[in-house]
Symmetry: C2
Subunit: 123 residues, 2 copies
């Protein structure tokens, strides 16, 4: 099981990379066979190739992220964060709660994002 | 799948009942075969009898709860909240992030609480 500090580091890297990195950079934080469900209830995205494709939709948009709260437990973390995305229609802001599990090296083995359309604000 | 409003109502009832109700009142919000993991990584508590016993440890302590954020997705919710417990050693404060799943009637089918010892503050 990874140390809590390793999990916290991966969460911080994830938020930084979502804001500033490429889709491949974000996907590299996941294990090869990781599963992503964003939002929870949607079809899961399985494997790093599909995960790279998932993040590529956001790759060319300017994004800012901010960690609001993180709780580490066992090999898992739940964290509340803000993501602001500049789109042609305005600045879209969401504050999801994500849950991740991690392998012994702190790589993400699963991600579930809790949010719904009613949480999306366009400014 | 329950409506988001039904899920939000159960989350609100849960926090209110943790603060003011009996262990049986809290357990009544769960299904008969629900599973609880608090904190994540500990041995799961299975079934309403065991869940009642779990909450009975807190039954005679004065508690206050406050919802900080809730996100509903599919049949699930993630929520960040504060719980203050008056103990002989002082006021213990934790702000966990919990994840719950719900049946079609809005009853809790599972709960996972994300927090660790380092998140506990004694005032």
């Amino acid at each position: 099981m990874p140390e809590p500090s390793v999990i916290r580091d991966t969460v911080a890297s994830y938020l930084k990379t979502v804001a500033t990195g490429s889709a491949a950079d974000v996907a590299a934080l996941y294990t090869e066979d990781a599963v992503l469900e964003d939002p929870v209830g949607s079809e899961p995205v399985r494997g790093r190739a599909a995960i790279t494709e998932f993040y590529s939709a956001l790759e060319n948009l300017r994004q800012e992220t901010e960690l609001l709260a993180v709780r580490v437990a066992g090999n898992s973390a739940a964290f509340h964060f803000r993501v602001r995305t500049e789109t042609p229609d305005g600045v879209v802001e969401i504050e999801p709660i994500d849950v991740m599990t991690f392998d012994e090296f702190g790589r993400i083995t699963s991600m579930q994002a809790f949010w719904s359309a009613e949480d999306v604000q366009v400014r």
